[in-house]
Structures are given as structure tokens and as C-alpha cells.
């Protein structure tokens, strides 16, 4: 899923996507365990989670300890992945519906990651640490994240804001997992809030965005046979946190209309328009669809994690107390009545999106004449009000419920052809020792996440859930059922993008806090009860619309075969240049080559060819281009952006593909090899 732009059609791969599974269990009670998944996807999803749970159930009794309560499916919030895998209609629209291949790749891969984690279970220890991610040279300069809606953040009470140094959380928290027998670390799980929007809206190459870069760098650094600290199978999870109003475009938002001025502070517009206003990443001048900025922000997270990891050798908090618990239920947020912190009775509303939702953000501006900070009466073309009426005119009750949000899309009350967004939402907490993980279905803003964590911490401390140890609370998401954003009540009133996308009205955050604090006692070490499961959400995988066309057939051009060279490499390249080769190709969707690679760089070492780069490497790019839909011909270009530190030597590039035969539809594997070239 990208930027909800139907023109953003995939054209290749920059870096493969992964599911990283972390399983923690009680040594004395094997049935008490939890699974935290970090997927290189935009978010979790109702149907993806359901598919994973079904798959676990089909694996038999050995996997019977995993279920609704203790499996958390989080996404890193990358905006550079394939779409067409989500359950509800709204995110399907710009991806031309639902695609089983995309969906199954995620579900099957997630299952496989859980199986691998399960099969590797062994006694171990957990430790926890945290660090600020900022440049020590100029601590006022944004380093890895900034707030992209500071005008809304300023609406929070001054005394609350005064508790914090920044309008984003600059703290990276890390859980370190160590095998008790070998003493080696088997992985780390970090939380740090920054949007996966480093790759720009004109990018069409698959990647895990900046968190995918960070995870890959960390694993390659520590999966080193000579490393005595880390296990060969070391896994690094870079989980998303209270990401809602964060941005990796740390240089700020400027007008790309030639003026070069900073965007309007309140509405992020340029001369009254949203489209020209765009956030700038560290290397925004590079014409590479954001790739350099993406790698830079990923590298900054990796660098901070690596330093924190080493620092924790000498100073960290042990996770203690054998209790491993989880609690989950489904809750209908379309009309949940509860007691507000001020004592009044309030309700959430059926889901709806405001006009400012269509304005987009500085990371990805929207279309037409929509603007952020649209409260009260709509300030866009009145034609949109008519369009809204064709879909569903919100009732006066619905409008009153949503208060300062002028409703553009009454998504929670549209059921034709099926629900556009969830009303039934996952509520989930995990606990390991004194660590409590809030599994958030939405993108909580900075202050929303802080309030939520503090509420859980205070309640856990007051009730003694974690015994003598002070509770440590982290927030991971967006997870499970994707519910867009969770802003504070005050930020909601400003109705920037994040407020307009807070689906269930102004009391959404307080509803989440109410429910999760209510469920905290289920995490008590002696508890064996579960809350009622709640209403089951609909699963639309078998009835979703799909206008994603399959692969018709592939043909090689006359006088050519699949895998033949069209344009070969040059004899020599220098570091920091790009080696490129073009092959006769075929549609990559014929074979996703999961757990394998489409392309590789091989180096000649001691007379034999050794793979040194593959799809997991950022510097190796696979591009596919259909040259003729009628003839079925296509080309594949393989590019190696040779690193400045790459070894001098002799190399070649490889490509593996699969073609679909006309008429019979038979899939035939093939490969291509470039000639040798030297890096000098």
C-alpha cells in the first residue's frame, strides 16, 4: 500500500518485505505466551490477522497456545509495499480491490515466521533499555523524526506539553532477547515513532521504507559469524509506535511551487492549496523518489539501535517476574458509551472521515481543493457535499456525534457493497514481567500515545499488577484491525489530517484508554479469566471486489529468449557508480520467489561465483517494464548502486524469472546472467 494513488503502480523491488516474529512464553506455564509480529506493511489488518489465526489453528495442537488473545499483528507503516490485501473497502479502492496473491504472501509469510520462532523456543532472558535519538552536535535539529502537525499539537494543554521537551517522542526503546544457554542475543525489538513515508508518492519500487532499511542494516551487522554476542539467526524488529503526527521529512515542509517558502503553519498550504506543500527529507534534492532520504533515516534508526544495544551490555533493566499474559476482545466502537475523565457520559460514533482527510499530509498531499484545519462547515467545493450525499448523507445525530469534524465520508454507516472501514475494533494488551505492551489499532499521535501509556502505567502501578517492579509501558501499532488515526480530543478539534482521520469521533482516544485500563486486571499473574470475545468482525476475503488483472501471458521478442541480454554491463565500474544490465523479462507476479531472490550480484572468489547481494540489499534494484501488452513482452533492468565501500573485484549480475506460456498458462522458470565486470 502506497499513498492511496491509483497511478502509483508497482514497477519493481528495492528491498524485500519481511515478517519478524517474537515469541515470549512463561517457562513454567507453557500455555502462557504471546506473539508480537512486526510486518513490513502499512499496518495490521482484520483479515490478515484472521488468516494468521486460522493458519495457526490448522497447524495442530502444538500451536494451540496461540490464539485471539496473544497474537499481535503490527505493521511498520511502510508506504512502499504492495496493496490490495486489506479487508475493508476504503483502502481497497485505489488498489483496484483485493488480490489473493498479495494477501496470501503476507499471511503465509507471517505464519512461517511464527513457526520459525516457535521451533526456536529456548530459555532466555529479557532486558530493556532506552535512548534519545538525536544529533548530539545540534540537539535542537530534528534528526530522525519531526511533528508534521505542530499546530494541532499546540492545542493540547500547556501544562501537559510542558512535561515534555519535544513535540515528538525522540526515545527509542529496546527489548533485548538473549539465549540463556549460549549467552548470545537472538534478537532485539525496538519501538520508535516515525512515519514510513521517506519514499515519496512517485516511488513505484517495493521496500519496507526507513524501518525496513534499519532492520536490514541491524541484522546484517550482527548476523556475523565472528560476532560473539549475537546469534547467527539474529532478528531485529523495528516496531512502529505513537506515529500519528510524526514525519521522517525532518527538514520541514516547504512550498514546491517555485516560491521555496515554508508552508502555512495552520493548514499546510501554499497560496491556499495543499498539493504544493511537501515535507523535505535529509536528501530531498536527490531525484530518486526519496531513496537517499529513506536510507538516511533508516540508517539513523539503525545507528541509534546499535549504540543502545552495545550500551545495554553494561546498563539495562532486567525484565523480571515470570508472568506472561495477554488480553484481547473485539469492541464495537460505533456507539460505545463510557465515563469521560471529566465525569460526563460520552459516546464514540460510527466511523467517519472529515474533509481534511482528503487534504492529505505534508508527507503526501491530497487532491483537489481540500485543506487541513477544516473545522465546522466544509471549506471545499460544495460539489463534494453533493457527492457525499450520493454515497451516504450523514444523519444529524452522526454529525453531532462527530462534533467539530465536517463529515466527508460517512464510512462507518456505508455497507454497500460491504463495510468501508471497521466499526468492530481489536482491544489488546500484552504483558511480560513488568513490561506492558499496548497494541494500538490506530496511528496514535504523539500526545495521544503519551496519555495512553501514562494511563496504563498509572493504573498498573496503582493496582500492583507488576508487583514491586515499576511498570514499563510501550505502545506498538498500527496493529490488528486498522482504524486510521487516534488524536487527542484537543487535536481532534483542530481537524488537521490526523483529527479528520480519527474515525470514531472526539472521544476515540478516551474510549481506548477506558477499555484498556478496564482490561488490565486480566494481566494479573493469577488471572485465568478472559473477557467476553465481543462481536466478531466481518471477513471479506472471499467476497471483496477485485479489478486487479492477472498475468495474461508472456512472450519474448522475436529472435530472443527469456533471460537474454538486451543491454549488457560495461567492463568496469567505479564505486559510487551504478552497474546496469537489461534482460528479456517476464511478469514477476508469475512467481513471487518468496524466501529467494529475483536478482543477485555474484563475485568471483577463488575461482567460484559467490552471491554477495540479493533482493534484501538496498543497493540492488529490480525493475520490470511491460513493453507491449499485446505481444506480452517485457524487460527487466537490474541495477547495482555500487557502494563506496564495495570490494574491488570481478562480478556478474543474475536474474531469475518465470514466464507464463500463452494458451496453456504453464509457468516456466528461466534465468539470465550478465557478462563479467570489474569494480576498480
Amino acid at each position: 500500500m502506497g499513498y492511496a494513488d491509483p497511478n502509483q503502480v508497482g514497477s519493481g523491488l528495492r528491498q524485500r518485505l519481511y515478517s519478524r516474529a517474537f515469541v515470549v512464553g512463561d517457562l513454567d506455564k507453557p500455555e502462557d505466551r504471546c506473539v508480537y509480529l512486526v510486518l513490513d506493511t502499512q499496518s495490521g489488518d482484520t483479515a490478515v490477522r484472521d488468516g494468521i489465526l486460522q493458519g495457526l489453528n490448522e497447524l495442530g495442537d502444538e500451536y494451540g497456545c496461540y490464539g485471539q488473545a496473544n497474537v499481535a499483528v503490527t505493521g511498520t507503516h511502510s508506504h512502499s509495499g504492495p496493496g490490495a490485501w486489506l479487508n475493508y473497502l476504503l483502502p481497497q479502492i485505489t488498489s483496484k480491490g483485493f488480490d489473493q496473491q498479495s494477501y496470501r504472501a503476507i499471511v503465509d509469510g507471517a505464519l512461517l515466521s511464527i513457526q520459525r520462532a516457535h521451533e526456536s523456543l529456548a530459555p532466555g532472558r529479557l532486558s530493556f533499555g532506552s535512548a534519545h535519538v538525536e544529533d548530539a552536535n545540534t540537539d535542537s535539529t530534528p534528526y530522525a523524526n519531526i511533528n508534521r502537525s505542530p499546530y494541532a499539537y499546540l492545542a493540547n494543554p500547556a501544562e501537559e506539553r510542558a512535561k515534555y521537551d519535544y513535540d515528538v517522542d525522540k526515545t527509542m526503546t529496546m527489548l533485548r532477547l538473549q539465549n540463556a544457554e549460549t549467552g548470545k542475543d537472538i534478537g532485539v525489538l525496538t519501538w520508535f515513532p516515525v512515519h514510513g513515508t521517506s519514499m515519496l508518492g512517485n516511488n513505484t519500487l517495493i521496500s519496507g521504507d526507513n524501518k525496513g532499511v534499519a532492520a536490514n542494516l541491524m541484522e546484517k551487522a550482527y548476523r556475523n559469524p565472528s560476532d560473539t554476542e549475537a546469534d547467527d539467526g539474529f532478528v531485529a524488529g523495528f516496531s512502529q509506535a505513537n506515529v500519528g503526527d510524526t514525519s521522517p521529512n525532518v527538514l520541514g515542509a516547504y512550498c514546491e511551487d517555485g516560491s521555496g517558502e515554508q508552508c502555512d503553519f495552520e493548514a499546510s498550504t501554499c497560496s491556499g492549496e495543499s498539493q504544493p506543500c511537501h515535507g523535505r527529507g535529509p536528501h530531498f534534492r536527490e531525484k530518486d523518489q526519496g531513496a537517499s532520504s529513506c536510507h538516511e533515516i533508516g540508517h539513523r534508526q539503525f545507528a541509534a539501535a546499535a549504540i543502545l544495544y552495545d550500551f545495554m551490555d553494561g546498563d539495562s533493566t532486567s525484565i523480571q517476574g515470570s508472568t506472561v499474559k495477554a488480553v484481547h476482545n473485539f469492541h464495537d466502537f460505533s456507539g460505545f458509551t463510557f465515563t469521560h475523565p471529566n465525569g460526563s457520559q460520552v459516546s464514540t460514533c460510527p466511523a467517519a472521515l472529515g474533509y481534511s482527510f482528503a487534504a492529505g499530509t505534508t508527507d503526501g498531499p491530497g487532491a483537489f481543493d481540500f485543506k487541513q484545519n477544516n473545522t465546522g462547515a466544509p471549506n471545499a467545493n460544495p460539489v463534494w457535499t453533493t457527492v457525499r450525499g450520493f454515497l451516504r448523507e450523514p444523519s444529524e445525530e452522526q454529525k453531532a456525534c462527530h462534533h467539530s469534524k465536517p463529515i466527508l465520508l460517512d464510512v462507518g454507516e456505508i455497507e454497500n457493497p460491504y463495510l468501508w472501514t471497521p466499526n468492530i475494533v481489536d482491544v489488546q494488551l500484552l504483558r511480560v514481567g513488568q513490561l506492558i505492551i499496548i497494541v494500538s489499532p490506530g496511528e496514535a499521535t504523539t500526545m495521544a500515545g503519551r496519555r495512553w501509556k501514562e494511563a496504563i502505567r498509572a493504573s498498573a502501578s496503582a493496582t500492583g499488577i507488576t508487583g514491586n517492579a515499576e511498570p514499563i509501558v510501550v505502545l506498538g501499532g498500527p496493529a490488528n484491525s486498522y482504524t486510521h488515526y487516534i488524536a487527542t480530543e484537543e487535536e481532534y478539534g483542530i481537524q488537521r489530517y490526523e483529527g479528520a482521520s480519527t474515525l470514531y469521533g472526539p472521544h476515540t482516544l478516551n474510549a481506548h484508554i477506558n477499555l484498556t485500563t478496564r482490561y488490565l486486571p486480566y494481566l494479573h499473574s493469577d488471572n485465568v479469566e478472559k473477557p467476553s470475545p465481543g462481536p466478531q468482525p466481518p471477513i471479506y476475503t472471499n467476497k471483496s471486489l477485485s479489478f486487479v488483472t492477472g498475468v495474461a501471458f508472456d512472450r519474448a521478442p522475436f529472435f530472443y529468449s527469456f533471460g537474454d541480454i538486451l543491454t549488457d554491463v560495461r567492463p568496469t565500474y567505479a564505486p559510487s557508480t551504478t552497474a546496469s544490465v537489461k534482460f528479456v523479462g517476464a511478469n514477476p507476479r508469475n512467481d513471487l520467489r518468496l524466501e529467494d531472490t529475483y536478482v543477485a550480484v555474484e563475485q568471483l572468489l577463488d575461482g567460484s561465483w559467490t552471491r554477495v547481494r540479493d533482493d534484501s540489499d538496498w543497493s540492488l534494484i529490480f525493475r520490470w517494464y511491460r513493453t507491449s501488452s499485446v505481444l506480452g513482452t517485457s524487460e527487466v533492468t537490474v541495477e547495482w548502486e555500487i557502494e563506496e565501500w564495495a570490494n574491488r573485484g570481478t562480478y556478474r549480475m543474475r536474474y531469475w524469472g518465470a514466464s507464463k506460456t500463452p494458451v496453456t498458462g504453464t509457468i516456466v522458470q528461466f534465468s539470465g546472467t550478465s557478462r563479467k565486470f570489474d569494480v576498480v
Binding site: P30, L126, K220, S318
Partner: protein, 98 residues
């Protein structure tokens, strides 16, 4: 053209070159003697070619300074690793590129 080399006192340049060669040889001999003595005393350094190569290939942890870290103080700072609670732990990774 045939160049005749006649016997007699060496030209000044040749004399200087021979003197420099002598100095260089002397310096080299002294260096070798010192190295031999050090190796005898300390031993040869171990060459781990593979390790060096992997170092080149690994993403380098940058020297960019990060703000001073502040890990949470450990309540068990006095305790040994044997006092730490043990859990069942497992990690896994798999491809989901659709």
C-alpha cells in the same frame, strides 16, 4: 655511441648514491633486527583475513555522535545474571513480498 668508463676516482654523484645505499642498507638491517627482537618477545600478530573482509562488507556503524544515552537504571544492578527471570524466547523471520 660507445661510452667509455675509465678507472679513477668516482664521480661525485655516484659517490653520493653509494653512500646513500649504504645508509639505506644499514637502516634496513637495523629495522629487521628490531623486528626480529619484537617478534621474539611478543609474537606474530594473527591475521584473520575473512574477518577483515566481513568488516568491509558489513554496514559500518557510523561515528555520528548520538545524544548521550540514558538507559533506565536497573533495579537489579547488584544482581548476577543468574538472578534474572528466564522466559521461553523465540524469534523468526520470513518473506512476505507479494
Amino acid at each position: 655511441m660507445i661510452v667509455h668508463i675509465e678507472d679513477g676516482p668516482l664521480p661525485r654523484i655516484e659517490e653520493m648514491a653509494r653512500a646513500h645505499i649504504l645508509a639505506a642498507l644499514t637502516a634496513a638491517t637495523v629495522t629487521l633486527l628490531v623486528a626480529f627482537h619484537l617478534i621474539s618477545a611478543i609474537g606474530l600478530p594473527q591475521l584473520d583475513f575473512l574477518h577483515l573482509r566481513y568488516e568491509d562488507e558489513r554496514p559500518r556503524i557510523p561515528q555520528v555522535p548520538i545524544a548521550p544515552l540514558s538507559a533506565e537504571p536497573s533495579p537489579d544492578a547488584e544482581g548476577t545474571s543468574d538472578d534474572q527471570t528466564r522466559y521461553l524466547l523465540g524469534v523468526g523471520k520470513a518473506d512476505i513480498t507479494g
